[in-house]
């Protein structure tokens, strides 16, 4: 009798299978990629002209503000991807496919973690294409000597962001809603994360709040590496901060997610939607 196994290689293939599934579903909607690239073009166009229209204090030239905001726009996409997990989970619940994940030896927690792979990879590609479009269409000047370093920095940033998606997924498992909250959180983080304007413009207490989450540090590091913006806390300090966020929050959020699933199984509401 053939017997399934649970070794690391098989689990690794299961992780990739989830990503491949999400890619297949994504590619089955042929206009989605084009639509999102067009959205980036519109955002870039808007901020390109805004940067030329107004004088922004703290920036040497309109181009330096444009470079600043293009990285911010790229990070918004990354943020949306991180917070898309609860909505993806809700879709699985409604379609009844979450039952399958729960009933599989691979399990619901690992499946949900694997479900983050494609959105994060996709956001990475989308961020790169936004920067590319900024260069091609609007003459964005990238700091090519440090651009390669932005790849591992982005990977670390994604690890630091991932727990937020997992925590909202846990919330969705328990209360069956999560996407409403994520919209608020993204809007809030866009402000305190300094995606569209420098955090230094904000009231002092908000600046303090900006230091308590990883999005501000990640955006600052990536700006530094991609467009040569100065970074207050130093690139090393910001990277250490991201690493600490990832090291603490990834296991903590995984534990919370596992507990939320167990809670749903005890109450019998795990597959309700």
């Amino acid at each position: 009798m053939r017997r399934p196994t649970s070794d690391a290689s098989t689990a690794g293939h299961a992780f990739l299978a989830v990503m491949r599934r999400d890619l297949s579903i994504f590619l089955s909607y042929r206009t989605r990629l084009v639509s999102q690239i067009l959205t980036s073009v519109f955002s870039l166009t808007l901020f390109y002209y805004v940067s030329r229209l107004v004088h922004v204090s703290g920036f040497k030239s309109p181009s330096s503000y444009f470079g600043f905001v293009v990285v911010g726009i790229s990070m918004v996409g990354v943020m949306y991807s991180c917070f898309s997990i609860p909505e993806l989970l809700r879709q699985e619940l409604v379609a009844g496919t979450f039952d399958r994940l729960l009933l599989s030896p691979f399990g619901a927690v690992r499946s949900l973690m694997a479900m983050t792979l494609f959105p994060l990879l996709y956001s990475f590609i989308l961020a790169a294409s936004t920067l590319g479009l900024g260069c091609l269409l609007f003459g964005l000047q990238l700091h090519w000597s440090t651009v390669p370093l932005s790849v591992p920095a982005m990977a670390l940033a994604l690890l630091a962001f991932l727990p937020f998606g997992l925590l909202f997924a846990a919330l969705t498992v328990v209360v069956k809603q999560g996407s409403v909250g994520t919209t608020w959180v993204i809007a809030l983080l866009s402000i305190v994360g300094g995606l569209y304007f420098p955090v230094s413009l904000l009231p002092h207490w908000v600046q303090t709040a900006a230091k308590l989450q990883p999005f501000t540090s990640a955006t600052s590091v990536l700006r530094h590496l991609l467009v040569g913006s100065s970074i207050g806390e130093g690139a090393g300090g910001a990277l250490v901060k991201l690493a600490v966020f990832a090291a603490v929050l990834v296991p903590a959020s995984t534990l919370v997610l596992a507990r939320a699933i167990r809670f749903g199984q005890r109450r019998g509401t795990i597959i309700e939607y």
Binding site: M1, R2, T10, V18, S104, P105, S111, G268
Partner: protein, 251 residues
């Protein structure tokens, strides 16, 4: 119903010894009264002040047995199957596969048990039949080198060859049900739980299902079949029960 009133239970020591010898070490029964599936003293209520949907329910399935559980709508058949599948937990009691509960070793539990929920849900509408089966094979932890063969064998076993590259949202209800059944049997489970499996199936689909059931029974697995009324099949059930007021009574 208590375990004492189970009809002609298999001599428990023999169950452990015989099956233990035929199974790989990692799935050998731990206890002499271990069964391919056992529900022990299971009680489940949805709200504290409501009467339980399942009440101190005991059920032990002997190796190679084909069992039917019926009951009116809302009697608790699906709840019982969900508990048996490890999907939800009972308020009291436990479900076991070879003496192991889902919470003790979930990977092993889900490796041995396969559950076909009622209805037509649980499929990715935008994936083809082959992609769906591949995905399921991989999260069922099938060895990577065996996935392709297992998928192709399943496609043939459930006569899905013509549909293999068709997307699920372009298939009929009966075709989808055949795919759901194929997914249920793909990992070669020992304990199969079927909730109204004949839904939307044509004669040919029902015959394929029964063939798969026979194969499970032939390798000493068990099949628990739930439906509101008794099915007229080309197979006889070894035991028939009706779920009534949270308890099993002979059907």
């Amino acid at each position: 119903m208590s375990s004492r009133s189970l009809p002609a239970p298999m001599p428990v020591a023999a169950a452990g010894e015989d099956l233990g010898a035929s199974l790989p070490a990692k799935v050998r029964p731990r206890a002499v009264d271990a069964f391919p599936l056992a529900l022990r003293n299971v009680t489940k209520r949805w709200r504290k002040n409501q009467s339980p949907v399942l009440q101190e329910l005991d059920l032990a399935l002997e190796p190679g047995s084909f069992t039917w559980v019926g009951g009116r709508n809302g009697a608790g058949k699906t709840t019982m199957l969900r508990i048996a599948a490890g999907l939800i937990e009972p308020e009291q009691g436990r479900a076991e596969v070879w003496g192991v509960g889902a919470q003790e070793n979930r990977v092993r539990y889900q490796t041995l048990v396969s559950f076909l929920p009622a209805g037509d849900r649980g499929l990715y509408a935008r994936l083809t039949v082959r992609r769906q089966l591949e995905f399921w094979a991989r999260i069922s932890m099938t060895r990577p080198g065996q996935v392709r063969r297992v998928v192709e064998e399943t496609i043939d076993a459930f006569d899905l060859r013509e549909l293999a590259d068709r997307r699920v949202d372009r298939m009929s209800m009966g075709q989808r049900q055949r795919l759901r059944i194929a997914m249920t049997f793909l990992p070669r489970p020992e304990t199969v739980l079927l909730d109204e499996p004949l839904t939307s199936l044509d004669t040919e689909g029902a015959a394929l299902l029964l063939r798969a059931v026979r194969q499970v029974l032939d390798r000493d697995g068990v099949v628990l079949w739930c439906s509101p009324s008794g099915e007229h099949l080309d197979m006889t059930f070894d035991a028939r029960w009706v779920l009534d007021r949270g308890r099993l009574v002979p059907g």
